[in-house]
């Protein structure tokens, strides 16, 4: 009876399986269930126990739901349950297959120190990795189901007595507006929440320790089923500059690196533009010997330096894209070809000057200091804008570009909090937890 209904509902889908044992119907989707669990929780019990009072007594397993009507059955089938029915009762028993990766090392946020586990595509195990770290009853996870077709489970995590209720309210409202959206990854949700600014306002991380630290700081994390990345909100500008590994190094050692990273941010953004502005407009601002070296380097290059810079930047972008997209087995050969084109061949063919290679090389190396892809994309976007301004207006254009970025950063908000927090508005505690690291007080012996 119920099988006929479900067969019609699923349009004779081939993975919808039906067994009839001892007057009990068992229906399940073969593709998302585990045959071992079906044997253990259902079939063994049905074949061994002849006398039973109700169907519920027969079925084992950690999650068993008694259904009121047959219409509910499709939902449970799609979520990895088996529907067990005799003529009286309909029961759903969870027999989900283990379609997930194991917990592995982080791949995008590698750190020398600290824990080596990372999230996988299973939301339950991801939340488990957090709860293993924060054993606090105030750590709350609030579940939502998003998507008309995907029915993706998402979960808001926060510590009740630390989180700002206003931020939580805003976030709930945003999620409630996106309930119809089909999502496959946390990025799809992030795009709905974040503003149109190129700079990222939501931190995507695959490290459970990073999420745990953020939760203790009063932030909110969003776990999305089938995504190995959790979202952290609100995320400030400084959160994208410093990796989680900083927390596991002495303050005195890491503060220098934090300053260097910030300098790298400025270098990667402004270096090509400043070089172009100086050699084309403001030659008086560099020493004569350096200017002569630049002039000697450009001898024989037929193209204007601005064209050279744009050409090199695009070449590097293409190289990076090909390196990311190409299978890793071939990656090394791509790098070699790229290095040959960019280095030796381009210079000897007089297409670009050696100094331009150095400038673009430094620009891209300094960008690699940051491991957040969105930040690197934003840097690339603004780097090209500032370069175009420098080509047209010289150092004046560079300063103009600097103010455009500064104004943009100042007006950006993340969950209604200023993006440049804790610098503007200034917060002493968070400043020494993010921008710099404060030396921890020694435990008194």
């Amino acid at each position: 009876m119920i099988y006929k209904y479900l067969k019609k509902e699923f349009n004779n889908s081939s993975d919808l399986k039906y067994e009839f044992v001892n007057n009990v119907s068992i229906i399940y989707l073969e593709s998302i269930t585990s045959s071992d669990k079906i044997n253990e929780y259902i079939l063994d019990n049905i074949t061994l126990k002849k006398n039973y009072l109700s169907l519920r007594d027969l079925i084992g397993g950690p999650s068993v739901v008694i259904l009121n009507n047959k219409e509910q059955a499709s939902y449970y089938l799609l979520n990895g349950y088996a529907i067990v029915s005799n003529n009286k009762d309909i029961i759903a028993c969870e027999v989900k297959g283990d379609l997930y990766r194991a917990i592995t090392n982080p791949t995008t946020e590698v750190s020398v120190n600290g824990p080596k586990d990372s999230f996988n595509e299973n939301i339950v195990s991801n939340i488990g990795l957090i709860k293993r770290r924060i054993k606090n009853t105030k750590l709350i996870n609030e579940d939502f189901e998003v998507g008309n077709n995907t029915k993706t489970k998402i979960s808001l995590l926060y510590i009740d007595d630390k989180v700002e209720s206003k931020s939580l309210k805003i976030l709930r409202e945003i999620i409630n507006k996106t309930l119809n959206l089909d999502i496959f990854d946390s990025e799809s949700l992030a795009q709905q929440i974040s503003s149109g600014n190129p700079f990222p306002t939501i931190l995507k991380t695959e490290r459970p320790d990073r999420v745990s630290t953020a939760l203790l700081e009063g932030k909110i994390a969003i776990a999305v089923d089938n995504s190995p990345f959790m979202l952290i909100l609100p995320a400030f500008f400084i959160d994208f500059i410093n990796p989680q590994g900083d927390n596991y190094v002495k303050a005195i050692n890491i503060n220098f690196l934090k300053i260097v990273r910030f300098l790298c941010f400025l270098i990667t953004l402004f270096l090509p533009a400043i070089y172009i502005a100086i050699i084309n407009y403001n030659q008086e601002s560099i020493p004569l010997k350096l200017l002569l070296a630049f002039q000697a380097g450009r001898n024989g290059v037929p193209f204007p330096s601005s064209f050279e810079a744009i050409f090199m930047i695009f070449l590097c972008i293409i190289l990076r894209e090909s390196d990311i997209r190409f299978p890793s087995n071939y990656g090394s050969s791509i790098s070699i070809v790229g290095a040959l084109i960019l280095g030796e061949a381009a210079v000897s063919a007089n297409i670009v000057s050696p100094i331009m290679i150095i400038i673009i090389g430094i620009t891209f190396i300094t960008a690699l200091v940051f491991n957040n892809g969105e930040l690197i994309d934003a840097l690339r976007f603004y780097r090209i804008i500032i370069l175009l301004l420098a080509i047209c207006l010289g150092l004046y254009g560079v300063v103009l570009g600097y103010f455009i970025i500064l104004i943009n950063l100042c007006k950006t908000k993340t969950l209604n909090i200023d993006y440049l927090y804790p610098i503007a508005p200034f917060n002493n505690n968070y400043f020494f937890n993010s921008f710099l690291k404060k030396k921890n007080n020694k435990v008194k012996k």
Binding site: N280, Q283, E284, L288, L291, L292, A293, S305, L393, G394
Partner: protein, 339 residues
Amino acid sequence: MKKIIILIGFCLFLVTGCYDYQELNDIDIVRDVGIDYIDKEYVVYLQIVSNEEKENNNKTSTYMVSGKANNIVEAFNKAFSSANKKVYTKHIELMLISENLANKGIGDVVNYLLNNFNNNYFWLLTDNIQNVFNKKINDQNITNQIVSIIDNKIGKKNIVDIDTIATCIINNKQDFTLPYIEINNDSIILEKIGYFNNNHLMGITNIKMYKLLVLDTNDEKFEYNGTTVNPYSKKISYEIIDDKILINVNLKGKIVLFDGNFDINSDKDMDDLEKNIELEIRKDIKNFLDNTLKEDVDILGLENKFYKINKNKKYHNNYEIFVNLDINRNGVLYEVIDD
């Protein structure tokens, strides 16, 4: 709001632009400028510098262009048009002016340079500009060496710049000097200075007393009877008592060279040395000041100092010099141990 931002952005592009865009390959960088005055005409020499790659080594090469006209603007324009590419003049290191031009007066030149050039170059005086520009030591132009000699002997910060010269010419309260460079065979000599009144060269004198009285250098040496003393510390002060300027020169010195006739353990020899060198320095300072004041050139700015105290009276070479030399004896006491 967006429309306003777009409008402002558009206007920003209109008010400035690519008009001063110049590729490095398209400019000739001028490093040194020389200005002479021959047969009632200004002659401008521009030394243009570029780096050449030869066998993987960067080598600086130079070439000279010149322009001649009866006014300075025309002369510069002719020199600029003689260059191969657009001339770039914001990295000038040396500004050489000839004795002829200095005698004639540098007012026109200062006026032109103030309006058209930056002011971060060294002013030098020389007898023959072409000789300086064409001279090569070890196949390299000598202007780099001149800059380092100036730095060693006078100090870059002590060279007068065009603003100081212009101020001196306009105010006429204090006069200025310029280092005088001579080329002798393969050596560059910087032992003299030329002193100016208003914008005219009035004379050339030895640089030693100028360094002692005006500059903060401590490398001067004074010799008496085979013993050489270097004043490693100095304090010069001026007092005005009874309409008279007292110039107090307090020096602390050390013996850097002595011969067998001098006994450094003897207090008498030391006292004699101090006394005689004091006398010699006093004599040199007097000669130096008398020579310059004779031409009505006031290098030390005494007139200005006097004027501040007594506005009604004019200073007329009425000065007294006191020199006190104190040789450091602790460091030179020793006893010869016989074998």
